[in-house]
């Protein structure tokens, strides 16, 4: 199972945090500090795997963002790299050539997409298209909310 996923910039600013086990705020802050320090200190051409406490940390840099995924010891690290890559692809499809600013200004959308892809520390859906379709449909429901015409259509 995955334990947490963090996205942070090259300056160590947090852009997204998803925790799959309950933890106190203090613990979370400490982990964020540890992860950013560890990952940002890595040499450019090192391997993408680290050991931290009893977890494996898989990280990958995409442009100005670091994606940092912590998994339990029996997980497959190479597949974890694919998980990170799939998430980036999903974001890319949704935002169209995603960049860090997209994630900053639309962080809630990034979370929604993540919640269609992963759940409870496991992969929920392996098909890109299905995840995208679910997000689009949910977005449409949001549109319906703000439309004044909704009720009229229903009864009209």
């Amino acid at each position: 199972m995955m334990r947490f996923l963090l996205l942070f910039s090259r300056q160590g600013k947090l852009r997204l945090q998803k925790w799959f086990t309950p933890m106190s705020d203090r613990e979370k802050k400490k982990i964020i500090r540890d992860m950013t320090t560890m990952v940002l200190a890595r040499q450019p051409r090192s391997c993408n795997f680290l050991h931290w406490k009893d977890l494996k940390i898989i990280y990958k840099r995409y442009a100005s963002l670091y994606f940092c995924l912590a998994v339990e010891n029996q997980e497959n690290e190479l597949l974890a790299l694919e998980v990170i890559h799939r998430y980036v692809e999903l974001l890319d499809k949704y935002f169209g050539n995603v960049c860090e600013l997209d994630i900053i200004f639309n962080f809630e959308k990034a979370y929604f997409i993540l919640d269609e892809f992963l759940m409870g520390g496991e992969i929920q859906e392996t098909s890109k298209q299905i995840v995208n379709r679910s997000i689009e449909a949910s977005d449409m429901l949001q549109e319906d909310d703000s439309s004044e015409w909704y009720e009229v259509e229903l009864f009209g």
Partner: protein, 823 residues
């Protein structure tokens, strides 16, 4: 009140802040606005405000006042509200706050909502942060949804069930019926999450595992699915670099691993498919290698046939040659796991593994080092050690300690010759001397002592190393010890193994004295060199020089050095006749476990002590038999007898942990009992307390613990007085006062004591062996008891004396210790 600013607006504004203080100010202002908006119970803008709060929370600012608002959003009818509300719940709430339970009802309603996306939100939230109470309440709903035909909901329900099982394992049974036809789904999402659910159940319960193996025939189903994935053509929906749904493949392989472990039938059933995956998977991209990696792990874990295992190891071997660092890393990790079981197969890749020691990546180097040590055996020891020593030279400091320990271990197990062994140790000490572990010094000393024929060679090499560099303490300590022991061989130029060097006694003493004054030497090292100088007094002829050095240090500020010097001085002055015997060569020592902790030794003179002991003058046998008797008579398995410490010095102390035991220097008149072997103990704090000897203990009244009568029979009365005059509260200092009310003296009086195993006892010398008649005087003796567990103090005592011509012996148990003495 104006409408609260939009989320994007806020983000833009905050990003313009140039300092942390400016940002904080903006945030505080906005928080205040949000708070008042919340107070007004504004439904329209609640969603916007909570979203802003979530952003500020991500920046690290407190947002707990928004928790209840999230709940209100969840209860709203609008999808937008629910979306943000559930997100807020997942970010701001967790099972530690009681507030979260208020969500339960909303979630329950939403699980039955008409819109699947709302149901999805509820399932997601429950599956991410549901507490045990929530899970218990809602498990039924989840189970219902697990049986729905809506694949969107079914996959979410499956993962939600996984979470429920993790939180409340007892509920696992209730999901069993729903799993029946999960694997007949076509939808990959459902398939994947179902495999996860089945994996979770099998991992948690051996009964479930057995059930799935036998009754459900899970293995054939999984094999079939996996086969379809591999054989089927291109499927755009699930394709990743030419491979069809690698996530699902890996998950199935993992479940197969669990099913096949320790089960022959299952393992056989999956043999073919594993071979197929292993040979057909495309390896040009990371994706293919991820699947191969999982396959290898599965093959190694189940009861696979040998051909398959060899295939797996070869895959790992190919991984080692891959350009991709990640793959090399993963290969090394897996090989480390299999090296025990498939040692020979892994040996074939030894040269590649050793090459990885030179890799630039730190993680790879560490794995390669661990694996290299695992591969060392009698055949390859020379070659491997060359590589490993080279690695030790050039590696980062973080590796040096582990590498040095590994080298010592390997050298001890497989050394082809004693000379090679000593050379290897020398190499480690000179290159990584400051990183070796503390216990290697005594181990090395032991090794050197036992290689009798190499003494000359060893001391010569160590001497030469000292001339080069005195900064590495372990090296210096071992070298000083050896020079102390074998200095005569050094000076006489007797080396056979290599060209003997010419060195005079004065040069040797110069070096040792240099160590004493150098700033680089630690106190422990100084102790070693002083003792070494002392030992040379019986091996060298320049005794006067040594006497001078020793007397100088009699006033050293360092208490340890001072003590040693004072004792050595005493040896010169009063006990010169004993000096040669005391400073003799060390005998061959017993081997201890190389990396075990130095044991606390409580000898009874009978067993060979496991750490160094100086050779004592011949009459050692007498106390041994006394000790034996003590053991016999006191019987019982829970008492450990202790020998009195009578001899003044233990001049040589090998091993940094052994501090000299100092007994009473002034032996009062009367025949002292034959010198007994001292009790070496490696509890420095205990002994350090004892370094300032007798005079302290005369202060009786200190602790205010009442004295007690321990024994009173046949005219012999023994009283115990207590005190705790030292900084260690676990040590009780007891002084016994023996008095004799009869009209004849009691001569040859010996007092012995034993305590239960959780205690440690130290007896110091008695004031006398004669208890004068008619209470004309008392014999006093000090007992020190270490009681770390603060248990009730009990003691068994044995008294022997001669009275009116006949020998008297008595045993007694002392149980009436006042509580203050051991609390």
């Amino acid at each position: 009140m104006p409408a609260p600013i939009r989320l994007r607006e806020l983000i833009r504004t905050i990003r313009t802040a140039r300092t942390q203080a400016e940002e904080r100010e903006m945030i505080q202002k906005e928080c205040a606005a949000i708070r008042s908006s919340f107070r007004e119970e504004d439904n329209t803008y609640r969603c916007r405000n909570v979203a802003k709060l979530l952003y500020m929370h991500m920046l690290g600012y407190p947002a707990h006042f928004g928790q209840l608002e999230c709940l209100k959003l969840i209860a709203s009818q609008k999808f937008t509200d629910k979306r943000i509300g559930y997100l807020g719940a997942m970010l701001l709430l967790d099972e530690r706050q009681d507030v979260h339970l208020l969500m339960t009802n909303c979630i329950k309603n939403d699980l039955n909502h008409s819109t699947q996306y709302v149901q999805g939100l509820a399932l997601c939230t429950l599956g991410c942060m549901g507490s045990s109470e929530m899970c218990r309440d809602l498990a039924g709903e989840v189970e219902k949804l697990l049986k729905t035909s809506n694949s969107y909901l079914r996959k979410k329900a499956a993962l939600c069930a996984v979470h429920v099982i993790r939180k409340v394992p007892e509920l696992m049974e209730m999901f069993l019926p729903a799993t029946k036809n999960l694997l007949s789904e076509k939808n990959h999402g459902v398939l994947h999450t179902s495999v996860v659910l089945l994996t979770e159940m099998c991992e948690r319960s051996p009964d479930m595992l057995a059930h799935f193996r036998k009754n459900e025939k899970l293995v054939p189903q999984l094999v079939r699915i996996l086969k379809n994935l591999i054989m089927s053509g291109y499927s755009p929906e699930h394709d990743v670099s030419g491979i069809s749904d690698p996530f699902l493949q890996v998950r199935i392989l993992r479940l197969l691993r669990i099913l096949g472990k320790s089960d022959d039938d299952s393992s056989e059933a999956m043999n073919d498919i594993l071979a197929q995956v292993a040979t057909n998977t495309e390896t040009s991209k990371n994706v293919g290698n991820a699947i191969l990696y999982e396959t290898v792990l599965t093959i190694m874990d189940i009861k696979s046939e040998s051909g398959l295992r060899v295939l797996a190891i070869n895959i790992l071997g190919r991984f080692l040659l891959n350009n991709d660092k990640n793959i090399r890393y993963v290969a090394l990790t897996s090989l480390l796991k299999t090296v025990q079981t498939d040692h020979n197969a892994v040996q074939r890749h030894r040269s590649t593994i050793v090459d990885c020691l030179k890799d630039l990546d730190v993680s790879i180097k560490r794995r390669a080092m661990e694996l290299s040590f695992a591969l060392v055996n009698g055949n390859n020891i020379r070659g491997m050690m060359k590589e490993l020593l080279y690695f030790l030279d050039s590696c980062d400091p973080e590796f040096k300690a582990d590498c040095a320990s590994g080298v010592f271990l390997a050298a001890e197990k497989y050394a082809p010759s004693k000379r090679w062994h000593i050379d290897t140790i020398m190499r480690v000490l000179t290159t990584a001397g400051s990183y070796v572990r503390d216990d290697s010094v005594p181990n090395l000393i032991q090794l050197i002592t036992n290689s009798v024929e190499m003494h000359a060679y060893t001391v010569q090499r160590l001497y030469k190393a000292l001339l080069d560099d005195i900064s590495q303490q372990p090296l210096v300590q071992v070298a000083s010890w050896c020079i102390g022991e074998y200095g005569d061989l050094l000076v006489s130029g007797q080396c056979e193994e290599e060209e003997p060097i010419q060195v005079t006694e004065d040069e040797v003493l110069d070096v040792l004295e240099g160590l004493l004054v150098s700033n680089l030497s630690t106190p422990v090292t100084r102790g070693y060199s002083l003792t070494a100088i002392m030992k040379l007094s019986t091996r060298f002829s320049s005794v006067n020089r040594i006497k001078k050095v020793v007397s100088i240090y009699g006033s050293s500020i360092d208490v340890e050095l001072q003590q040693r010097a004072v004792e050595y001085n005493a040896l010169f002055k009063k006990y010169d006749h004993m000096r040669p015997a005391l400073l003799e060569r060390m005998p061959i020592m017993e081997k201890t476990a190389t990396n075990g902790p130095t044991e606390i030794v409580q000898t009874n003179g009978e067993t060979e002590p496991s750490v160094v002991e100086p050779k004592h003058p011949p009459p050692v046998t007498q106390p041994t038999s006394q000790a034996n008797d003590l053991l016999d008579l006191l019987g019982g398995n829970d008492v450990v007898p202790v020998i009195q410490t009578t001899m003044p010095t233990k001049p040589a102390s090998a091993g940094g942990e052994l501090l000299d035991l100092l007994g009473d220097l002034s032996l009062s008149g009367g025949p002292a009992p034959a010198p007994a072997p001292s009790v070496p103990s490696s509890q420095p704090s205990f002994l350090l307390d004892g370094l300032s000897s007798q005079p302290l203990f005369n202060d009786i009244a200190a602790a205010g613990i009442p004295p007690m009568t321990a024994y009173n029979k046949n005219g012999l009365k023994i009283e115990f007085t207590f005190e705790r005059a030292n900084p260690n509260p676990n040590i009780a200092v007891i002084t016994i006062h023996a008095s004799n009310s009869t009209e004849a003296d009691m001569t040859d009086f010996v007092f012995q004591a034993a305590v239960p195993k959780t205690f440690q006892l130290q007896l110091l010398s008695p004031s006398s062996n004669i208890v004068p008649a008619i209470n004309q005087g008392t014999v006093t003796q000090v007992i020190r008891v270490l009681n770390p567990q603060k248990q009730q103090l009990r003691m068994r005592i044995k008294l022997t004396y001669t009275h009116k011509g006949s020998a008297v012996q008595d045993l007694a148990e002392v149980n009436n210790f006042p509580p203050q003495s051991w609390q």
